[in-house]
């Protein structure tokens, strides 16, 4: 069931994997129908995969996709180039931090991609016909000798090989002083927000030379800075609501109808600190690395270093559900602080029916939690242990008690293999997991549509 979309099937076991820095995937996103999957990498490239449609008449039943339903490369383009800030004498990385698809309105697809500073709107369109039969030019485009033209013809469109064209339509630059960490398309279809460490801007998709600043938490004196914005997202249905998370573990729901500058939140979501478990690392591990609205718009999913939490928008006193992602790391926080792993930013996602949440961990592991039962499962995205079409087996980290075969000890975890970025198909049980420079796509053939 695992599909390694990037590397050829070579036996790598005797070679140390050489990972080109530029190939490291930095974001993954399905479009609204799930037919397209976009990935961005550290080298500034975007690769779009398209799901193969089922051959007509063969598999009519829901859930039977046979050989089709796989994702193949549809288009590749260079979205951002390395840049240089001359004023600060600093390089601007071309790494794609986020990709967000716009809802489809015509035959073309649009997506927003952003690096640390600049957001770009790309139009992805297909061309499968070309005009033939020009009067003045021949097939190669050379001018015809006029004396040979004896009659007029009307050029006709003839089918050609499919060509996918990607063109930049808008470039939204100079909007951010600090590093952009999130972009989110509004449900109104006209605007989107971009958030950096200290500010959130709202843009109109058609206007590139202006944006509205809607949140600004920069203190007058930068030395007083103690909190930064870590993620932001628009509500899926209410175009006036958005949420942003902070490095102190708080969530702020803002209503743009209340005021132009939403520095004052409408609702503040914060879990009271447990005084018993306070340590020097408490604040760092409470920093929220990702926030996502549920599809219903009723709940929020957040990820901090050790847990994933579900919040009810109607209750700001604390999360309604807390899931331990890798609690066994709590006693290792000092080492993880030392090697900077404690600052890793994991993403989290909902499934299509908001009944399952998923997030990544170390050692190529990722976790899925069933909200109804509260149970979690550990899975692995690692080519050595998953062949295409093989059933993904669950893994376990040994933390005491009876040790089972296949358990991995905490000390053997590979902290360089981190699953930070992932996406869940909007309507089916298909997930895309980015593991360094590899993309894994897993499909649930048993319950493909997740009608639970």
């Amino acid at each position: 069931m695992g599909e390694d979309a990037e590397s050829p099937k070579i036996n790598h076991t005797f070679l140390r994997d050489y990972v080109t820095e530029a190939d490291v995937i930095s974001t993954v996103e399905f479009n609204q129908t799930g037919d397209l999957l976009a990935t961005g990498d550290k080298g500034g490239r975007v690769v779009i995969f398209q799901r193969e449609t089922e051959p007509k008449g063969e598999s009519e039943e829901v859930g039977e996709t046979g050989d089709s339903g796989e994702y193949n490369v549809y288009s590749t383009f260079q979205s951002h180039e390395p840049d240089f800030d001359y004023l600060k004498s600093l390089e601007i990385e071309e790494k794609i931090n986020k990709i967000r698809w716009l809802p489809q309105q015509n035959a073309a697809h649009f997506l927003l991609s952003t690096n640390d500073k600049t957001i770009k709107l790309w139009k992805v369109s297909e061309r499968d016909k070309r005009p033939e039969g020009y009067n003045l030019k021949d097939e190669e485009g050379r001018l015809k000798d006029i004396s040979t033209i004896t009659s007029l013809q009307v050029p006709v469109l003839k089918p050609t090989d499919l060509m996918v064209e990607v063109r930049p339509r808008r470039v939204f630059s100079n909007g951010h002083t600090y590093h952009v960490n999130s972009i989110s398309v509004n449900s109104d279809g006209e605007t989107y927000l971009s958030a950096d460490d200290l500010r959130i801007n709202m843009w109109h998709l058609g206007i590139t030379d202006r944006s509205f600043n809607i949140v600004d938490i920069k203190p007058a004196n930068m030395e007083d800075l103690t909190e930064v914005i870590t993620a932001a997202e628009f509500h899926p249905h209410h175009c006036h609501l958005f949420v942003y998370s902070s490095s102190k573990g708080t969530l702020r729901l803002c209503d743009m109808r209340a005021s132009a500058l939403c520095d004052k939140h409408t609702k503040l979501f914060e879990e009271p600190e447990d005084p018993g478990s306070r340590s020097f690392f408490s604040e760092i591990i409470s920093s929220v690395s990702d926030v996502k609205f549920s599809h219903s718009g009723r709940y929020l999913l957040t990820r901090d270093y050790l847990t994933a939490k579900v919040w009810d928008l109607n209750m700001d006193k604390g999360p309604v559900e807390t899931y331990q992602v890798h609690e066994y790391l709590r006693s290792k926080l000092c080492s993880l602080y030392e090697n900077d792993c404690i600052f890793d930013k994991f993403e989290c996602v909902w499934n299509s029916s908001d009944s399952v949440i998923m997030t990544g961990a170390y050692n190529s592991f990722f976790r899925m939690f069933d909200r109804e039962t509260g149970r979690g499962v550990t899975l692995e995205a690692w080519r050595e242990s998953s062949k295409p079409r093989a059933v993904l087996r669950t893994r376990r980290v040994y933390t005491g008690g009876k040790r089972r075969r296949g358990d991995v000890g905490v000390d053997s975890l590979d902290f360089t293999k981190k699953i930070l970025h992932m996406a869940w198909h909007p309507s089916e049980n298909i997930i895309a997991i980015a593991a360094t420079n590899n993309l894994y796509i897993f499909q649930d053939r048993v319950n493909p549509d997740h009608t639970q």
Partner: protein, 315 residues
Amino acid sequence: MQRDNMFPKGTKRKFSDSGEEPVSSSDQGPSAASSAAAVAARTLTSSYSLQRQSLLDMSLIKLQLCHMLVEPNLCRSVLIANTVRQIQEEMTQDGTWQIMTQALAAAQCPADRLVATEVLCRQTDAAAQAGQSPKPFSVVGLEEGYHAEEVVMEGDVETEVTMSTLSPVSPQLSSASYLAGPFGMGPCWEEEEEEGECEEDEDEDSEECVSEGEEGDRDHLSADSRTGEQVFGTFEIKHPAPPPDPALEELFSDVDPSYYDLDTVLTGMQSAPKMGPYDLLESLSSHGPTTLSSSSSCRSDLNELDHIMEIIVGS
């Protein structure tokens, strides 16, 4: 004054070191002194205070300058700085902080490190604005046994020491700067330090320390460190340097010299001087407080420094 050229890789800081060698390296200085603090505060749980001290040192090093070309991660810098503040608050409450700062004041020529760090923090702005190749200012000068001010004096272009972020960084450089504010210096995390840190981490995580440190080296792929100047300070209003002497007098009028080494780190945490990076640089331009004059070779030529400051600040 003899300076140790070697970055103390993996060297366990011992209390005796602080007695034998006043400042063997800029890193060992405060560390040795902080070991002294730990010893002195043995009334506290010894392992807890050692652990806390180790965490403080680790955090300060993480905030240090690193010669990378990309802006550091602001979130990470803020979280580390908050951790430092937290430790400092706790240490202030149980009295170990005062002991440590006194021990640091006893360390020789703290201002040298002070100068070096500030100069280091200034670098790219200076280079960019002056439009010249990076000026050689020294933290590296420390390791060559020069006093920092001396190198600053001479060193418009002649000395081979470089403060450019483009130059290969020796670990000594990053070890120098405890001194700039957490937002005046960039977070830095270097391979060599990592191994050193591993050794110094004496508590229960030491095993993981070693293995994860190495993994962390590989893992630490991104160039996410940079002078914090770039992160925090660049977008503050760049004011031209005020007349040095009056500002300096005012600045130092209520400053206990023992705070020099750490006060930029602690800027905002203590009532005493809220000195930003620019303020400290301006402190160069005077003959300054008594600790500076404690060694005659530390004296700097005012005009030379003014000239250098002008280039740096770009006015």
